[in-house]
Symmetry: C2
Subunit: 193 residues, 2 copies
């Protein structure tokens, strides 16, 4: 019947996501999105409706292909506290010179002033907080968690700490100091041997 869509959707979303992480929603011009994705504006509007539609698809892609993938890779259920630590440390490793931070964190801050936050933001926060709490409870059951740690409160604290690290990374704060801080943080969560 008709001509088939030519572009690779994953590659397009990955490229768009990159631009939105770097420049923010407002700062990302459709021309920059064209250049990054290889699509012409006509195709972008044809495929995603408008710039917001492309952003929605990109932040959804971020949740699945970056955030969830990072969790699965570094912090699967059996990896315990070391897995959580690896998850935190992984956000310190961005490609050279890049300070993209996290699309969710950046979006929370950029669009937090007036309107309600983008739905992906509380969703991602809940995903992380639930993950932290579940892993902490699991460790507690196995006697690997320091006695004074209460999983629900510690999960909220880890969520805030995670967002804070992403702010500091975005502003080029010294990553070595952040890495040492995280090492200590997770040592303190562990039950003494």
């Amino acid at each position: 019947m008709a001509r088939t869509r030519e572009f690779n959707e994953d590659a397009v979303l990955r490229a768009a996501m990159h631009v939105f992480r770097r420049d923010g929603y407002d700062g990302a011009s459709v021309r920059a999105l064209e250049a990054a994705t290889g699509l012409k504006s006509g195709s972008i509007y044809n495929s995603y409706g408008d710039k917001q539609g492309l952003f929605d698809a990109a932040i959804d892609h971020y949740g699945r292909a970056v955030l969830q993938a990072r969790v699965d890779r570094h912090a699967p259920p059996e990896a315990g506290l070391d897995g959580l630590r690896a998850l935190f440390v992984s956000v310190l490793h961005e490609r050279d010179g890049e300070t993209l931070g996290c699309l969710v964190t950046n979006t929370a801050v950029e669009t937090g002033g007036g309107q309600a936050p983008h739905a992906a933001v509380p969703a991602a926060f809940a995903l992380l907080e639930t993950l932290f709490e579940e892993r902490l409870r699991r460790e507690a059951e196995r006697g690997r968690l320091a006695g004074h740690v209460e999983p629900a409160l510690a999960a909220t604290r880890l969520l805030a700490l995670y967002q804070g690290v992403l702010v500091l990374v975005r502003a080029r704060q010294d990553r070595g100091a952040l890495a040492r801080m995280l090492e200590r943080e997770f040592d303190d969560l562990k039950a003494p041997l």
Copy 2:
């Protein structure tokens, strides 16, 4: 010789700061700044050179009139850990419905992608981290700090936690849970009685 400037600079900067906190640098239009400050665009350009000049003045004002004032009020040197706790809790109390967050945090995230961060950002981070470390050392000398706490690492952790709380507040995360988390955090820093 000549006519004197008529407007109250503090009031102008306070109003401009409010707009920049709410809408970000890009999101704040000169028209919105006119409406908030009561100045006409000609006066803004005459007084501050350009929008960036007004922003520079506003973030400087923020550092002195909001951040430093908040520190002096809640966490003077003799106030110890309870002072630091009060400082953290104070960022949870914004006027009704407002989710302005912190101009420094918001700026760090908004302008962190490509160019170097605004000079006020690392300056404010250093101010806070130094403050935290100094207060922790002071408490340690008085035997009021839990034994396992290392002031330099804990100061970095508190800086990240502070930024993270400001991200979560900006995205309307539940403030009660954040308050409980902070209570516990500072309890854990205290030496057991």
